[in-house]
C-alpha cells in the first residue's frame, strides 16, 4: 500500500483511511489541516498535516519528523490529542497515532468525539478570497469550476445550505439553482454594494425576517468592481454552539456551587426572575461615580434598620455591597442597584445590574478561589469579600447584562 499523490483529496483512494485500521468510521480531512505536534519524549515540536480522523486514531503526514513516540497534537489551546505514533504506510511519511486521551476544555476523554472535531474544523476562518479573486471571466464554465472548488472544502459540506452569487452593478446573479429568500437577497445587495465600490472584502451575519435562520455572508471584491458572494446558512451551527455554551454554563454552576459550598449560585433567566419577584423594593439607585458610594451606604443603613442586624453584621454586608458597586464603577460603565427586603424582614437582597461587560464567567473560578492583595487586587479581592460577608451570592448573566445579587439573612452570624 502506498499513499496516493493527491492524498487525501482523491476520492477513489482509501489507503490513508485503511492505514488507520478502524473500519469504516474513519474520515478524510479535506483540505488537510496543518497542526502542531510535540514529541513528549524529546519536547521536539513540528507542524504536520492532519489527513484523517476517527474516534480512536488519526493519520498525520509528517515528511520532516518521524512520529514514533508519544506525542501531543494541538488543535487548539483547549483541544489536544495525546497518543502514540507509529508508521502508517511503509515508505511514506504517513503516521498513525492511536489516541490515548483527548483533552477538550475541562474534560479528558479516551475517544475523539467527531462532532467536537467538526466544530473545531468549522471554527477555522473561511477565506474564499483566494478562490474568488482568480475569477475574472464570468462564463458558466468558470462558475461551475468555482462552485466545484468551494464544494471541495469540507467546511462547506458541513453547513446546511450554500448559495453562491455574483454581484455586478446592483444586480445579483445566482450561480446555481438555489436562491436565498428575497428579504435576505435585498439585505445582501445593500451590504455588498459599497464593498464592491471600495474593493474591500466583507463578512457579515444576516438573519431572516422571521428571525429563525442565520446566514454568514462572505463577499470578495473582484478587480472589475464586481463581487463574488458565498452565503452560508449557519443556523444549525449556532444552535450547536448555544448548546455547548449551555453545557459550559452548567459545569461552571456545579463547580462554583461545590467550591463555595453553595454560597455562589448561578441562575438562569427564569430563576432570576422568580427570585426578584419576591420582596419589596426599599432602595433604587444609579451608580456612576465613586462619590455615589457614600450615599449608597447611607441609604442602605437607613433602609435596613427594621431588620435589626447587629452593627458588625450590617457593616460587613455594606462592605460586600460596596465592593460589588465599586467593581461595577471600576470595570464597567456604572449601573444600578436595588435593595429588596422580605416582608417579614428575615432577609434582604441587593441586586446589582451592570451596564458594562460585567463579570466574565471564565473569571469566576479564579476570582472565587484566589484571595487577597498578594494574588490580585481588583475583582479577586472584591469577590472574596462578597463571598465572606454575604449569606448567598446569586449571579445571573444574559445578553441583557449581568445581575449580581447579594443576600443577607437576618439571623446570620458574622464570619
Amino acid at each position: 500500500m502506498i499513499l496516493c499523490e493527491q492524498c487525501p483529496n482523491n476520492p477513489d483512494c482509501q489507503n490513508c483511511l485503511e492505514a488507520l485500521r478502524v473500519g469504516n468510521s474513519a474520515r478524510k480531512v479535506i483540505p488537510p489541516r496543518s497542526v502542531r505536534i510535540t514529541l513528549l519524549g524529546s519536547g521536539q515540536t513540528c507542524q504536520v498535516q492532519l489527513v484523517t480522523v476517527s474516534r480512536t486514531a488519526i493519520g498525520l503526514y509528517s515528511p520532516n519528523l518521524p512520529l514514533h513516540d508519544r506525542l501531543e497534537v494541538e488543535l487548539a489551546d483547549d483541544f489536544r490529542i495525546i497518543g502514540t505514533g507509529l508508521k502508517g504506510i511503509e515508505g511514506d511519511p504517513y503516521f498513525v497515532m492511536d489516541i490515548d486521551k483527548v483533552l477538550r476544555r475541562q474534560e479528558v476523554l479516551d475517544r475523539l468525539l467527531l462532532e467536537e472535531f467538526h466544530t473545531w474544523l468549522m471554527s477555522k476562518e473561511l477565506d474564499l478570497s483566494n478562490i474568488l479573486l482568480d475569477w475574472k471571466e464570468r462564463d458558466d464554465q468558470m462558475s461551475r469550476l468555482i462552485k466545484q472548488e468551494l464544494q471541495k472544502l469540507s467546511i462547506l459540506r458541513q453547513v446546511e445550505t450554500i448559495f453562491l452569487y455574483h454581484y455586478e452593478w446592483g444586480k445579483l446573479r445566482s450561480l446555481g439553482s438555489n436562491r436565498a429568500d428575497p428579504d435576505i437577497e435585498r439585505e445582501m445587495k445593500r451590504l455588498v454594494h459599497p464593498a464592491s465600490l471600495t474593493g474591500t472584502s466583507l463578512r457579515e451575519q444576516l438573519v431572516s425576517a422571521n428571525g429563525e435562520r442565520v446566514f454568514e455572508l462572505y463577499a470578495s471584491p473582484l478587480p472589475d468592481q464586481t463581487c463574488g458572494i458565498a452565503l452560508i446558512e449557519v443556523t444549525a451551527i449556532i444552535m450547536e454552539e448555544r448548546k455547548r455554551k449551555r453545557r459550559e454554563w452548567e459545569m461552571y454552576r456545579d463547580l462554583l456551587g461545590v467550591v463555595t459550598r453553595n454560597k455562589l449560585l448561578l441562575l438562569n433567566d427564569e430563576e432570576l426572575f422568580v427570585l426578584l419577584r419576591e420582596g419589596r423594593k426599599l432602595v433604587a439607585m444609579d451608580l456612576r461615580e465613586p462619590e455615589d458610594l457614600a450615599l449608597l451606604r447611607k441609604e442602605f443603613r437607613y433602609s435596613l434598620e427594621p431588620m435589626k442586624l447587629p452593627d458588625k453584621r450590617l457593616l460587613q454586608y455594606l462592605v460586600a455591597v460596596n465592593e460589588a458597586a465599586s467593581n461595577m464603577i471600576k470595570h464597567g460603565n456604572g449601573g444600578s442597584i436595588i435593595l429588596y427586603a422580605a416582608a417579614d424582614w428575615s432577609k434582604c437582597r441587593a441586586v446589582i445590574h451592570d451596564d458594562g461587560q460585567g463579570i466574565v464567567l471564565e473569571d469566576l473560578p479564579r476570582a472565587t478561589l484566589l484571595q487577597g492583595y498578594s494574588t490580585q487586587h481588583s475583582l479577586g479581592v472584591g469577590f472574596h469579600v462578597m463571598l465572606q460577608y454575604c449569606d448567598r451570592l446569586y449571579l445571573g448573566s444574559s445578553h441583557a447584562g449581568t445581575k449580581l445579587i447579594l443576600e443577607c439573612d437576618a439571623t446570620s452570624c458574622a464570619e
Binding site: E289, P290, E291, L293, A294, R297, D311, K312, L315, Q316, L318, V319, N322, E323, S326, I329, K330, Q371, G372, Y373, S374, T375, H377, V381, G382, H384, V385, Q388, Y389, A414, E415
Partner: protein, 104 residues
C-alpha cells in the same frame, strides 16, 4: 474622609477620620507616600476610620509595600475590631506583614 498629620524626628503620624472608599483611595495613598518620603517611619492611625473597602485601601496597600521596600517603617495603629476584621478578609495584613494595632 479627613486627616491630620504630625511629624517629629523622622516619625510621622497620619490620623484618618471617616470612610476610606474608592472616592478617596488615591488621596490616602498619596498622603502616605508624601509623609513616607520625608520620614523614616510612618504610623497610620485608624482610630476614627469607620469604613474601609478594597479600593479605599488599595493605594495605601501598594504605597506601604513601596515604602517597606525602601527600608521605611510603616505601622497601622488603633484599628477598630470591625475594621480589623475587614482588613483581614481583604488579605491586607497578611500580605504586608506589618504591625497592625487594635484600638484600645
Amino acid at each position: 474622609m479627613d486627616y491630620r498629620a504630625t511629624e517629629t524626628n523622622g516619625q510621622a503620624t497620619l490620623f484618618f477620620t471617616g470612610e476610606l472608599d474608592m472616592a478617596v483611595g488615591d488621596q490616602v495613598g498619596q498622603l502616605l507616600q508624601q509623609y513616607g518620603e520625608r520620614n523614616q517611619a510612618v504610623r497610620v492611625d485608624f482610630q476614627n476610620v469607620s469604613f474601609v473597602d478594597s479600593s479605599g485601601i488599595g493605594s495605601l496597600f501598594f504605597t506601604t509595600k513601596e515604602l517597606l521596600a525602601l527600608g521605611k517603617e510603616v505601622e497601622i495603629v488603633n484599628v477598630r475590631e470591625e475594621i480589623l476584621d475587614i482588613l483581614h478578609v481583604l488579605g491586607f495584613t497578611q500580605a504586608l506583614g506589618i504591625s497592625i494595632g487594635k484600638a484600645e
